[in-house]
Amino acid sequence: MYLNTLLEVRDLRVYFYTYAGVVRAVDGVSFSVRKGEILCIVGETGCGKSVMSRALTRMVKPPGRIVSGEVLFDGIDLLKLPEKELKKIRGREISYVYQDPGSVLDPLYTAGFHVAETVLTHNSSMKFNEVWGKAIRIFREVLIPDPEAKAKSYPHELSGGMKQRVVIATAIANTPKLIIADEPTTALDVTVQAQVMELIRSLKNKYNSSVMLITHNLGVVAEVCDRVIVMYAGKIVEVALVEELFTNPLHPYTQGLLEAVPNPLRKVERLRSIHGSVPNMIDLPEGCRFNPRCPHKLQLCNKEPELVEYSKDHLVSCWLYKR
């Protein structure tokens, strides 16, 4: 464990027991989040990135179940903590920002109340007036114009970007050590997306928090992240610092992904696409899960590769790099 490690996940497995079979949504994932970094989790739909982020504070609903693993946060295993203790961490030490701000905010309460409630839950000795004042200060911090008036308005009176700022305000209300942002800008327009990303980055610097950013947009990854984890079908295939990942991608899936995204600032003659489609999570291919789509398939690929260190801070799970 590094000195500057905030959160360490070891061999996390989350399975969903459905009628059709067992969905191994997260299958043996190990990684760490360092203090003060923005860590991106990238992957396509259904690769388990959202489920994994929720499992960190045990927010998996049946038929899903955390089968095994450890989540060490400041040395405490969150998966073994009693629910009462975990509630003190959720929302105070670790907070979440979700994709769709419209469904996160309760339409019956004002925007300011959402923030005030979060503060009050973890500081029950505070008076409501103090808490309301704090909510308005936080609103100012997330750059909501006219915070006094906006705190009294209801979610339906706010635009999409404003709502997401309110959600971010609730997430930072208790100055958490870790903010988990699950596709925070997917529902927003590009110009607003840039504003929100900028906000998340400046808040992270101000509070020296860590951010775990879940996204499928490689552009967002390149813009804001420090380190990147690439997931495919419930497994981590590659971990690297962002410049390293974009200049020297190792895993064939990462390579394919990077070449499949059209870049608006550069004309390419032809995009390289990854052949085939994401496997059915109930009936996964044997061995490496990418092998049916992989252009460099070897005999060995029928066995499962491990995530190994290729160079400093660069891990890959592929037989091509087995030495």
Partner: protein, 324 residues
């Protein structure tokens, strides 16, 4: 692109949707408000803009799926607005559309065979062709096989469904295909397959595409011409390379500088033009230039004068006071 023949010419198209109050109409959503452009033969015209700028309404207007309030649509020299009966059928045969969401655009109770056969039946083309052979060829064109013919839509993934929707649009061998965000619900690896396929089909069948999207990367990759929309109006129109290398309208500049670039060395070193606020509601768009409240280069006159598109360079048009 050397092709210069104008296939589609849209002039001053307008569509306002009324917002009903209890007794009176409260106002209008000015979804498309005076849009003019041209599309050239065998090229792709991309229409880009943020959500709510009227791109989808425009797509439907072009094919007369909804009736415009005003304006004209000239297709190969014929005014589409004046067509009816057989002539209108003929126009419908020559045009196709692919919708954004492949989950709601395919009837769940019909097999793929029935879905693809329906347009042929409607246009009375079953007599001329061997239906089975024709449909298998059609499926192969979009990367599916003949065993897929008798399955239902729920048996396919999102990417495959979109292939079926594309096959349906191509069933009548159209000349003009409108693609309304065909890849926005797909994953990147599947999206790349789809974009390559669309490009190959265009080259093979000599199609003209109108491609509606909000993804500037796709525009750069696929399109020859681009029209940038903001709140129901086209603010800039021109050849893709020119618009991306030398954007003229402040909104185009802002859009290009806000879009995340999948390359950290560029993404972190480029200068950003910051823009304040969010797109206003199309119900009460700002007076004058619609972008002026957010524009970093706004002049005092911008709130008073509404500009129209002016040709600055050959086929490069912009609607901004700075270039008048």
């Amino acid at each position: 692109m050397s092709a210069t023949k104008v296939v589609l010419k849209v002039k001053n198209l307008r569509k306002w949707f009324p917002v009903k109050g209890v007794f009176f109409t409260k106002g209008f959503v000015k979804a498309v408000d005076g849009v003019s452009f041209e599309a050239y033969e065998e090229t792709t015209l991309a229409i880009v803009g943020e959500s709510g700028c009227g791109k989808t309404t425009l797509a439907r207007l072009i094919l007369r799926l909804i009736e415009p309030d005003e304006g004209s649509i000239i297709y190969n020299g014929v005014d589409v607005m004046k067509l009816s009966g057989k002539k209108l059928m003929e126009f419908r045969r020559k045009t196709g559309i692919v919708f954004q969401d492949p989950y709601s655009s395919l009837n769940p109770r019909m097999t793929i065979y029935e879905i693809l056969k329906e347009p042929l039946e409607t246009h009375g083309m079953l007599k001329e062709i061997d239906i089975n052979e024709y449909l298998v060829k059609l499926l192969e064109k979009v990367g599916l096989q003949k065993e897929h013919l008798y399955r239902y839509p729920h048996e396919f993934s999102g990417g495959q469904r979109q292939r079926i929707a594309i096959a349906r649009a191509l069933a009548l061998s159209p000349e003009l295909v409108v693609l309304d965000e065909p890849t926005s619900s797909l994953d990147v690896s599947v999206q790349a397959q789809m974009l390559n396929m669309l490009r190959d089909i265009q080259a093979a069948d000599k199609l003209t595409y109108i491609f509606i999207t909000h993804d500037l990367g796709i525009v750069r990759y696929l399109a020859h011409y681009v029209a940038v929309m903001y709140l129901g109006k086209i603010v800039e129109y021109g050849p893709v390379e020119e618009v991306f290398e030398k954007p003229l309208h402040p909104y185009t500049k802002v859009l290009l500088s806000a879009v995340p670039i999948p390359d950290p060395s560029i993404a972190r070193s480029r200068a950003r033009i910051k823009v304040i606020g969010e797109p206003p509601s199309p119900l009460n768009p700002p007076l004058g230039c619609r972008f002026h409240p957010r524009c970093p280069y706004a002049l005092s006159d911008c709130s008073r004068r509404e500009m129209s598109l002016v040709e600055v360079e050959k086929r490069h048009l912009v609607s901004c006071i700075l270039y008048s």
